[in-house]
Amino acid sequence: MADPNQSAPEGRDPHSGGPALSRRSFLKGAGGVAAAGGALSAQAQAQSAEAATAVQTMRGTVEVTLQINGQARTLRCEPRTTLLSALRDRLEPALTGAKQVCDIGSCGACTVIIDGKPAYSCLTLAVQCRGKEVTTVEGLGSPEAMSDVQEAFCAKDGMMCGFCTPGFVVATHAALDRNPEADLEELKYELSGNICRCGTYPHVFDAARAAQAARHDGGEGK
């Protein structure tokens, strides 16, 4: 395992909210290969050179405390560990509601809410989430006490295999919070960052509409 003493990037205040990662340092950290310099414009080269001197590479593991579903949870991860992997693979006990399906931001199965906005947790580094409120599908409700949206997904059969479902549930919550009056076309737009292979979309739309209607009738949702 990596050196556990190396809990913070060298020379940086570990409590400063994390380094501002540039694409270049990110690639370095992830062990990738930076694009050939010739392809970059002079300006971009200058910028990345500046970023490279301003930012130090993080290595080893770091301790991060994240606000997840209203609780402070501390875990050790690498600077390059995604929020998705932190939730699923580093937390004890793990939160596996958010699913890893594509790991590159094209399916929405890993959607969580960060400071009120839906985000792909596979495209977010865990260390970037220090000081932010993260809500996962588990934080929205439990089988014993489901949120209005979760209830509606059950009532309208907005799921089949269910692997995409946590992502859709979180995205639907975010959509209805952001745009309570969304019509069907707007809902489709709001949910277009999530995919479902089983083909549950029509029933997902029904569920979203039902939850929306219930909020209108009975005040705010959970």
Binding site: V101, F153, D157, M159, C161, F163
Partner: protein, 724 residues
């Protein structure tokens, strides 16, 4: 196991009007777990000390391995085990599972991937042979690895008298000829293939979490890699609590399962080996592509006289699937020549209605062309050539629902206004869902709790829900009062889920077990309520003798009569199953002839089956079938780089599947016209005709015949202008 009495009557599904639970909308019993993230899939299994494994695949199909150096990987912090799968001198023969060079297992997923990157491979890449046209050439390298094979063309089989059929076509009033091309499609299960294997999970047993369509049969293959002897299958305990889709791709442990088992044995630690998305595209299976040339002839009224079909199946290393000709329609004279063209792409696997969407696309295209050629509208020509009255009625129903009566373009395609045309198209489907031996146990405890248990798996179909619901119906309970146990190889054996056999096999066995439980309880009631076995009514949580509703017992009171848990078993009963289903679909599209964009406005499906166990889950599945067909028709195709053999479409950005924005208005109709007293599955049928109906609708909208899927803007513009 005590079985107190010989059953007095045969189980039966009963009259639909009498049903309280089945044939209604039943919310899935695992819904609350799925919508809250509580449901644990194989991907989600976490065991203390678990290793994460990652695969190294060679990126092109064919190569000679010169050397593989894993030493740097082994030296990396966090890396625990490196399994070298291929050696220097090995020949890599095709893309997919033969490309797996090594597996790195580590304490974290990141370290496993670092290990993969640290392996140094030297190999001489060979001509890839991923293109079927190239594979057919005489000088193409042989990638048909069957013993004694001397050509990449295999399995050629002709049926029918070609001269006679050609003669019949020439003698017919009208005929059409068309060549169609259907790409390879991927299953794209959102949960990739894989396992978590705990080698010493329970005493001497290995616990295998598997995303599998055959929990009862899955363990057998893992016996040897786990270091056990044949016949020690009972030492492997397979669990599939939930699974994220299968669609036919998840039969058997696969290379990844064997490797996972081996690593678990060698390290003595639990191993999590799930394919990455790129691995999944490369080795998780596919629906074979196809090329077909069809000649269809008919008389002046559009009654078909003869068909001549030459078809290729493109299954990579597999044989490919093609459902034959004539597909669905009645044609008296038939010639069919079907063969398989092998390439060095990975093998096709079963995929929801294997071979049928391909056959449907060719046939429905030819049928549609002959309609316009003959001057008989596309709805009428279909009804004229279908044998089953039910299917003719179904076509009328979808036509009415999609607005065919008011639609202007019946005998000729429309002329786009400002470049935009709107059209309607049709297609039909048929399936024969199986029913095979399966078993189920029902346990009733003195405290009133009920468990229904069978080793089936819920691929997303809602199987878990009917495992409980069928028992609830029989005993007059609510669904929530019955616990369903599935996804565990220790439970009574059940079938592998393929060809829509699950419901036709499981539901009769569950019904039989429930029936046996009811009769055993009725035997206890003889002394209390006075009636003989078979003369009771179980409803709303109570039981009374027929004709004597005044004297009744509550469910808990009945169970209190038990001195020990009542355990009964049931098995598949032929009398409760019948497998033949028909359906029809229609699509309405808008085509922008300036941009080539096709927007599906509406899709309608009608589908019959036996007794609908759960109407809401059925509508979900019918929707799902239409959506997968829409996605195949508009978006999906596997793309290899022909020169080097890289799989270019190995992620969800380049291999796009339909999303919310592509969704048309959808109408799923359950055909209740024949109240069959039987049950069967139905998932395959509704995926068959959608892409055919959409292509026909495109023609109807603007007169452009799409012979090549998918109907992307560039393919549509190419069809209009000959090039983009």
């Amino acid at each position: 196991m005590s079985q107190p009495r010989i059953p007095a009557a045969e189980p039966s599904w009963g009259k639909r009007a009498d049903l309280d639970v089945l044939n209604r909308d039943i919310p899935r019993i695992d819904g609350p777990d799925k919508v809250t993230g509580r449901a644990v899939y194989t991907h989600d299994v976490r065991i203390p000390g678990m290793l994460y494994a990652a695969l190294l695949r060679h990126p092109v199909p064919r190569a000679l391995v010169e050397s593989i150096d894993v030493s740097a990987a082994e030296a990396l912090p966090g890396v625990v085990h490196v399994l070298q799968v291929k050696e220097a001198g090995d020949e890599l023969r095709y893309s997919g599972d033969d490309s797996v060079l090594a597996v790195v297992s580590a304490e974290t997923p990141e370290a496993a991937r670092d290990g993969v990157r640290a392996i140094v491979v030297k190999a001489e890449n060979l001509e890839p042979v991923v293109d079927t046209e190239r594979a057919k050439e005489a000088d193409a390298p042989l990638v048909n690895y069957r013993r004694r094979a001397d050509s990449n063309v295999a399995g050629s089989r002709a049926r029918g008298d070609e001269e006679k059929v050609k003669g019949a076509i020439d003698a017919s009033a009208k005929s059409v000829e068309v060549s169609v091309e259907i790409p390879t499609q991927h299953h794209v299960c959102l949960e990739t293939h894989g396992h978590v294997i705990h080698p010493k999970g329970e005493g001497e047993r290995s616990v295998v979490y598997a995303s599998t369509q055959m929990v009862s049969q899955h363990g057998g293959q893992l016996v040897r890699p786990l270091g056990l002897e044949n016949g020690q299958g009972d030492k492997v305990h397979v669990l599939t609590p939930h699974m994220g889709g299968g669609f036919g791709s998840k039969f058997g442990a696969g290379v990844e399962g064997m490797l996972c088992a081996r690593i678990a044995r060698e390290t003595g630690r639990p191993v999590h080996l799930m394919l990455s998305r790129a691995d999944e595209f490369a080795m998780g299976g596919n629906r074979s592509g196809s090329k077909q040339t069809l000649k269809l002839a008919g008389d002046a009224d559009g009654k078909f006289t003869a068909i001549h079909v030459v078809a290729e199946r493109h299954g990579g290393q597999g044989g490919g699937a093609f459902a034959g000709a004539p597909y669905q329609y009645e044609v008296p004279e038939v010639y069919l020549d079907a063969k398989s063209v092998k390439t060095a792409a990975d093998s096709n696997r079963a995929m929801r209605a294997p071979g049928h969407p391909q056959a449907s696309f060719g046939m429905e295209t030819a049928v549609d062309m002959l309609a316009y050629e003959t001057g008989v509208d596309p709805l009428t020509i279909r009804k004229r050539n279908l044998a089953a009255k039910m299917q003719r009625r179904q076509l009328d129903r979808v036509a009415a629902e999609i607005g065919w009566d008011e639609h202007p373009n019946k005998l000729a395609p429309g002329v786009p206004e400002n470049g935009i045309g709107v059209g309607i198209g049709f297609g039909v489907c048929r399936w024969t869902p199986g029913g095979r031996r399966a078993r189920c146990n029902v346990t009733v405890r003195p405290d009133g709790s009920v468990v229904s248990a069978t080793a089936t798996q819920d691929l997303g179909t809602g199987a878990r829900t009917y495992v409980a619901a069928i028992v609830a119906e029989e005993l007059g309970l609510e669904v929530g009062q019955v616990t369903a146990r599935i996804g565990d190889s220790d439970l009574p054996p059940n079938v592998a889920s393929g060809g829509s056999v699950t419901t036709g096999s499981s539901a009769p066995a569950i019904k039989d077990a429930a029936h046996n439980a009811r009769e055993a309880l009725e035997a206890l009631l003889e002394d209390v309520l006075g009636a003989e076995v078979g003369d009771y009514v179980w409803k709303a949580g109570r039981v009374h003798a027929v004709g004597d509703p005044e004297r009744s017992l509550a469910w808990k009171e009945v169970c209190a009569l038990l001195r020990q848990p009542l355990e009964v078993s049931g098995q598949f009963q032929q009398s409760l199953y019948e497998g033949r289903i028909l359906g029809a679909q229609a699509a309405k599209v808008e085509v922008d002839t300036m941009t080539g964009r096709v927007k599906v406005l509406k899709m309608v499906a009608i589908q019959d089956q036996g007794l609908p166990l759960n109407r809401m889950a059925l509508r979900s599945q019918i929707n799902g079938g239409m959506i997968q067909a829409l996605s195949y028709g508009l978006l999906e195709q596997r793309v290899f780089d022909k020169e080097d053999g890289f799989l270019l479409s190995d992620n969800l950005q380049l291999y796009k599947i339909a999303g919310a924005q592509e969704m048309p208005e959808m109408v799923s109709i359950i055909d209740d016209s024949e109240e069959r007293d039987s049950v069967c599955g139905m998932a395959e049928a509704p995926i068959i005709p959608g892409q055919s109906a959409i292509a026909n609708a495109i023609y109807n909208a603007c007169g452009v015949r799409m012979t090549r899927m998918p109907f992307t803007p560039d393919n549509v513009l190419t069809a209009i202008h000959g090039s983009v």
